[in-house]
Amino acid sequence: MEILNNQDSLWYFLPESVLILTFVVILLFDLPENWSKNRLLAPIVATIGTVLFLALSFYTQQFPEAITFHGMIINDAFTDFFRLFAGLTALITIFLSLKSKEVAQVRAEYWALLVGITLGIPMLAASNNLLMIYLALELISILSYILVGYLHNTKTSSEAAVKYVLYGATASGVMIYGLSLIFGVTGTLNAIEIRQFLISNPAEQLALFIGLLMTLAGFGYKISMVPFHMWAPDVYQGAPTPVTAFLSVGPKAAGFAILLRFIYTALTQDQGGVYVPLKYIDISTLMAVFALATMTLGNFVALQQTNIKRFLAYSSIAHAGYMLMAAAALNTEALRGVIFYMISYLIMNMGAFAVAIAVINDSGSEELSAFKGLGNRGRKGALAAVAMTLFMVSLTGLPPTVGFVGKFYLFSAVIEAKIYWLAVLGVLNSVVSLYYYAKIIKYMYFEEAKEQKPFALTGFSFPSLIVGLAAATVFFGIFWNALSYLTEISAHLLM
């Protein structure tokens, strides 16, 4: 384990540096009046920057894994994966933002803020220091508050932003209080040193558990874990739809990354692929309870929703519950499983949001009823409906879609960890979720549309994105070896 100094670390930081540069350059576009008139300039620069970021992260991937910046962050395969993930999420979001009518009139800072959040995702995933955790989390959060409230003159957007800020500020306050308790017991801010301290001082400490709980409030709020989930439906509904899509995938994945890294690095001991929780902190049971509560609540309440964004918000809470099972299972398979699940979730959730944006563009309504009769509204309508059906099937977790494979890996990790009750209840939860996902399918094919005019999904690029995501859903549902390989190499934490 090598801890690099600042100069040596800079090479590892190359991809993120590009993002910072992009961030600053885009901000400059707002200065000259005539520049900001060209609507496409800023998103193009953002796209170029993100692509460059992805390319460079493939380059830095070849470096040996190391702990960089005096132990602040860790550059390992896990971090590399989240660079890839953040880049892909950002690219899709930029595309969706261009296509959505809601954010048609944005200025350059919108794209800059997107890039800024994208920067936060790998930073959070790589954090090894309690200070870095807080800083990266806040970087994501604060910039998200602004994006959520970006539609300044709509009531829902501003209301969502206010709730988000108030909830986020309090949750992060509670989290630092918890982190400070952990610091008080262990005397260090470094996650690896925390583990070493806990191994050599195995006496039970109440402050440690409570500090952990409070820390989980901060992480849990980012991943919308019950009972810290309640902001999510309101914020997801009020935010501009592309931002909702982004928040439900990117920052959420970052939250999972740090949750898993923190638990696996600081609170467990690696014993040949099985991470044994350090004595007296029964993190496994705790996370299993959280996971069960999260998925059950998400699924049950999603059944009741009539707004498409709110519906997808509850669906995303339910999926957070499934992914939380990895934090309960505590083995390498679980890490693999959750990484696989994140990829599948990226594909299918972004796909669902893409169709939702198309429907909102077409009807101007966010109600689920806007989906009625979609399958019978011309060729484009049929295409959107078929794609949406695939995404719904995948979100339910049925074969032959990528969602099934993701669930399969996760559940087998849970069984490997011998937490059978969680696996059984998780499967039952998937059955419940079938009800509400099938509702959309039923709407699209078996109900009459309000207007019979052909579905407006113009252009070439937007339909091809939807088709591409739908094809990926099925393709990776059948041939998942490549993804499986990626998850296998990514499920490695340097500690």
């Binding site: 807080y134 009531k155 501003s158 108030l166 986020g168 500020a169 306050g173 209080y177 400070s180 610091f183």
Partner: protein, 101 residues
């Protein structure tokens, strides 16, 4: 003699008062005051542990960052609160409830 625990207790009192403010206030600005208290309690906690505990500079730096980020957060919160006010002509959270269920 003042001990570490006394400091910690004071910090806990500030923390709990902040939480109480957050969960009871109707006014957005009122809630924000509570979050500031929570954040200050956390910063205080860190400085206490730094002073009695590992005695390095890192606790001070951590507290600094907490203060700076709290300021950033407050700025955003106030800006967002203003947009809320422009849309609803009030910042009473019980009257700005379009999103629920």
């Amino acid at each position: 003699m003042i001990q570490m625990q006394h400091f910690l207790m004071m910090s806990a009192v500030i923390f709990v008062l902040g939480i109480y403010t957050v969960v009871t206030r109707k006014n957005v600005l009122g809630i924000l005051l509570g979050t500031e208290l929570v954040l200050n309690a956390a910063a205080l906690n860190i400085v206490i542990f730094g002073f009695y505990g590992n005695q390095t500079i890192e606790s001070s730096i951590y507290a600094l960052f907490v203060i700076v980020l709290a300021a950033a957060e407050a700025a955003v919160a106030l800006a967002v609160g203003l947009t809320l006010y422009q849309n609803f002509k009030t910042i009473d959270t019980t009257e700005t409830r379009e999103l629920k269920g």
